[in-house]
Amino acid sequence: MMSDQVTTKLADEQGFSAARTRDYFSLLKPRVMSLVIFTAMVGMVAAPGPIENLGLAAFSLFAIAVGAGASGAFNMWWDADIDAVMSRTKKRPIPAGLIQRPEAFAFGLFLSVLSVMVLALAANYLAAGLLAFTIFFYAVIYTMYLKRWTPQNIVIGGAAGALPPVVAWAAITGEAPVEAWLLFAIIFFWTPPHFWALALFKSQDYETAGIPMMPNVKGEARTKTEILIYTVIVTVIAVTPVLFPVAGPVYGTVATTLGAAFLYFSWKLFRADTAEATDRAAKSLFGFSILYLFLIFAALLAEHWMGLHG
């Protein structure tokens, strides 16, 4: 396997491991972890009723974050070969020769077991089971199969990134009702416009690595159309929580306003007719998509902290 060739060569050049603690920490994809912590925290706060035990909730949040980190370590373990050829990822610890693949695998496995166990102890088996499924889905279904197989990779794989609020909701209430799955749906349908915008201005990278992303396989025009379709879906779904007790008018106003802006950026990308304009519009959309998800979840958090939902 290509990845084995890459890391065996690196291992040959190495003596003892010179890996620092921060190299192991970067295996956990800290930026993804911070987003997971945030969305999971929203899931906890949005769940009905007050959080009865803040200490246990904090430990549950910690376990969810570590579980997300473990998925990241598995991802870097499996994708070391393609990470080495992509500008965005070539400085990651494995392609940089700081950590070897088996070490990353062992680290990911250890943290997976630990996080699921801690969540089972601190919360309940439903939450722990959902976390285990999330790790499995990201590491096996997305990383090992979908990513190199189909341009729908990030659409289906997006489920892993969308699950943390459901896990967190289950950790607090022991249930996963439709409101929790609405939060899941928002992140799930947000993922394609977000990642395809990135894939548009990093298409050369994905081409070099041989990853079948939408722009490389179906072309730029089809990608822009699908981005627009998914943006319409996510902006509509993002407003639906107001129909349930989970969200109120503050959230509704924020979600509608930001949804309109999200649509504007997608439309601008759809209408971009030169390579330069496409690049610019894709970068703007990518940047805005992060802000969009952060702000609508922050609005939900704010509503609950203001005590609008009891």
Partner: protein, 94 residues
């Protein structure tokens, strides 16, 4: 004939004295220039020849740091499980 040569070569190798690892005092080490990474055999080369491998000062420093973090991690895990247990018992009792 060829076999006899091979056997005598093997015998020679067996007869070679095994080099004992040099023991160096801290004074000697301080007087010497710092070793470079290229001065050492890699771990894999060392295994192949049966020689011992001396990690570089930088590698030792990183290994010590990793060991410390691991020890703290285990301690943190113990505290975590203890705290969860206490909180759970408290919640049940309350």
């Amino acid at each position: 004939m060829v076999e006899t040569e091979k056997k005598s070569e093997e015998k020679k190798v067996e007869d070679m004295p095994v080099q004992a690892p040099k023991t160096e005092t801290s004074e000697n080490l301080a007087a010497q220039p710092l070793p470079q990474a290229s001065d050492f055999l890699s771990a894999q080369e060392a295994r192949a020849t049966g020689e011992s491998y001396a990690p570089t000062p930088e590698e030792i420093k990183q290994r010590n740091k990793r060991s410390l973090v691991m020890a703290l991690g285990i301690l943190a895990f113990m505290v975590l499980v203890y705290a969860i247990t206490v909180l759970k018992i408290g919640a049940t009792a309350g």
